[in-house]
């Protein structure tokens, strides 16, 4: 098992903030909007550096989405920031018509996604956003795993032409991917080559998958671990290549099972290479208040559960 070392816990939303500032420095057409959550989204540095390119939308996400679509007409590249719950479900029709169907170059920056938002509870813990966004034609869906990767993803989506949903989170988590990495949209990242099982993970659960992989190695199970940071377009080639080698799969994500990354991988496999699969995710229930670690444990989204799923799926081979 390849060794991964965290350089210290950091939040992915701060990676977005740093990436946004850098994207703004690289391209003067990058502009930003926020729905009264500048601090939460870590957009302060961009606001301070480029006050004339930042537009406070107030608590009015529908308008923010429409304004961003309009701002692309004439060449601006707007990043719109709010919590994932309000960035997607609340404004689905605005995204659908003014952004996705109209194919506008809007970047939806969605923080505080999933259970690890923590104590605020289920109203704010959206677990359906990946599904909502991946169903929209033209929409790219990205869920990076740590600070460094979120920063790199932010810079990459500014350079990509078209609508993007960029999902990240609130808690401080291990920061283990390379600093100043190049982020390739749509490319699955091999974290550990293995022979017995493939673990596909996205977002915060990539680190959990690595932790699981280390423990599995101690038990003599050689897990291949792949980071699916781009859920749409899905890297079908890399996924099929891996599964044809290992012949069983575990997926892990901080999202509802319905409509998530695992759902996309299961669909790909059932059509092309039917394989035993176990899926880690939230099973058709809302979240609740708690600390991120408590919630990941209660809803079965940590390394321990990934290990159990691996043992179960290997037995099904």
């Amino acid at each position: 098992m390849k060794k991964y070392i965290s350089t210290g816990n950091k939040d992915t939303r701060s990676g977005f903030g740093v990436g946004l500032l850098e994207a703004g420095k690289k391209n003067e057409n990058v502009v930003a909007m926020c729905a009264d959550l500048i601090g939460s989204l870590k957009m302060d540095a961009f606001v301070a550096e480029f006050p004339e390119r930042f537009f406070q939308a107030g608590i009015a996400e529908a308008n923010m989405t429409g304004v961003a679509a309009g701002m692309t007409i004439g060449g601006k590249i707007p990043f719109i920031g709010t919590f994932a719950a309000f960035a997607t479900g609340r404004v689905y029709d605005q995204i659908r018509q003014s952004v996705a169907y109209s194919n506008k170059n809007v970047k939806i920056a969605a923080s505080h996604a999933g259970l690890t938002l923590g104590e605020d509870g289920a109203t704010h813990q959206i677990l359906e956003d990946i599904g909502l966004m991946k169903m929209l034609p033209n929409m790219v869906v990205i869920n990076p795993c740590d600070f460094n990767q979120t920063k790199a993803a932010t810079i990459a989506v500014a350079e990509y032409e078209g609508p993007v949903y960029l999902r990240f989170g609130r808690p401080s988590v291990a920061n283990f991917t390379p600093e100043n990495q190049k982020f390739e949209i749509g490319k699955a990242l091999m974290l550990n080559e293995g022979a017995d099982v493939t673990i596909f993970a996205t977002g915060h659960l990539v680190w959990e998958a690595i932790q699981a992989g280390e423990k599995l190695a101690e038990k003599g199970i050689d897990a291949e671990i792949i980071n699916i940071h781009t859920i749409k377009p899905l890297d079908a080639k890399a996924i099929l290549k891996s599964v044809k080698k290992t012949n069983c799969v575990v997926t892990a994500e901080e999202h509802m099972l319905n409509g998530g990354m695992g759902d996309s991988i299961a669909q790909l496999l059932s059509r092309n290479y039917p394989t035993p699969i176990e899926m880690i995710g939230v099973n058709d229930t809302f979240g609740e208040s708690g600390t991120p670690a408590q919630l990941l444990e209660k809803y079965g989204l940590n390394a321990e559960n990934i290990i159990k799923a691996v043992e179960k799926v290997i037995a099904r081979k």
Binding site: G58, A62, G66, A68, A69, G70, Q94, Y101
Partner: protein, 281 residues
């Protein structure tokens, strides 16, 4: 000076296009289209600074127009075709399979003249405000226009956009409201009373003007006045008094022709009231 008679002639042909398109497919929205025919003719044949032969989404250094109430696509398609964005014959394909003239306007089919999809109501004012902001950031001295149904003002997003445009001092934006006081289910008063629109928009910080939307001379006057009011730190809205179905007597004075197509006999009756000035497609 605008040639009012010429614009009225064009509007007559636009109205013929509308009823013929909707009749042909037995589908579409003639009422609001007819009511806005004078305004749309004035926009595309007199007011907008545009380049219809070299259309780009960005429309750099051009005025931009956004149709927020996308269901009145027949009038939009007619003025776009008649002002040179695409061949007039293409109006035949309205609402047909594989057409660029979708039921509601879209950028997905690359039809010149369309810069955003509309149909789901209430979104166009935000889009227009955003495009106007970009024009300002790009240092352009151009104007962004939008058109909305009055029933559309029932959507909350319109008022979010109204607040935003005033707060951000978007003063290169002129929104027009098709104030015909009817919507699908009946009068706006019965469906969801809009109250006093003038005081509402004024309370949101907008400069409010009014004009008679089915009087070409007054439309030209009103749009000129609106243009003069731009650049003063506030967005401008025109309450445009119109009659749904204007120009076809049996379609006026009722909400029943909002989304209903005329039959063969009704088409004949309608066309007898509208002079063919530019040649039917």
């Amino acid at each position: 000076m605008a040639d009012i008679k010429n614009l009225e002639n064009i509007a007559s042909q636009v109205r013929r296009d509308i009823v013929r398109m909707v009749h042909e497919k037995n589908s579409g929205h003639p009422g609001g289209s007819l009511g806005c025919a004078d305004f749309m003719t004035a926009m595309y044949f007199e007011v907008l600074k545009k380049d219809s032969k070299n259309f780009t989404i960005d429309g750099k250094n051009e005025d931009l127009f956004f149709l927020s109430n996308g269901h009145i696509s027949p009038v939009f398609y007619s003025v776009l075709a008649r002002s040179g964005y695409f061949p007039v014959e293409e109006l035949k394909t309205f609402r047909a399979l594989n057409t660029r003239l979708q039921g509601h306007p879209t950028t997905a089919e690359d039809l010149p003249g369309i810069r955003i999809a509309s149909g789901s109501l209430g979104q166009g004012l935000s889009v227009a405000a955003g495009a106007a902001l970009t024009k300002k950031l790009n240092g352009e001295n151009t104007t962004v226009y939008s058109l909305h149904g009055d029933g559309e003002l029932e959507e909350g997003q319109i008022w979010e956009a109204a607040m935003f445009a005033n707060a951000r001092k978007i003063d290169n934006l002129i929104a027009t409201i098709d104030y015909n006081k009817v919507q699908i289910d009946g009068t706006t008063e019965d469906v969801l009373d809009l109250g006093n629109l003038r005081t509402k928009w004024e309370a949101f910080g907008w400069i409010v003007l009014e004009m008679q939307g089915n009087n070409m001379a007054d439309v030209i006057r009103g749009l000129a006045e609106a243009k003069l009011k731009t650049g003063n730190g506030k967005p401008v809205v025109i309450l445009m008094h119109t009659e749904m179905g204007a120009g076809v007597d049996f379609m006026m004075g009722t909400h029943k022709w909002h989304g209903v197509a005329p039959n063969d006999e009704q088409l004949k009756d309608a066309l007898s009231q509208l002079e063919e000035t530019l040649g039917d497609y």
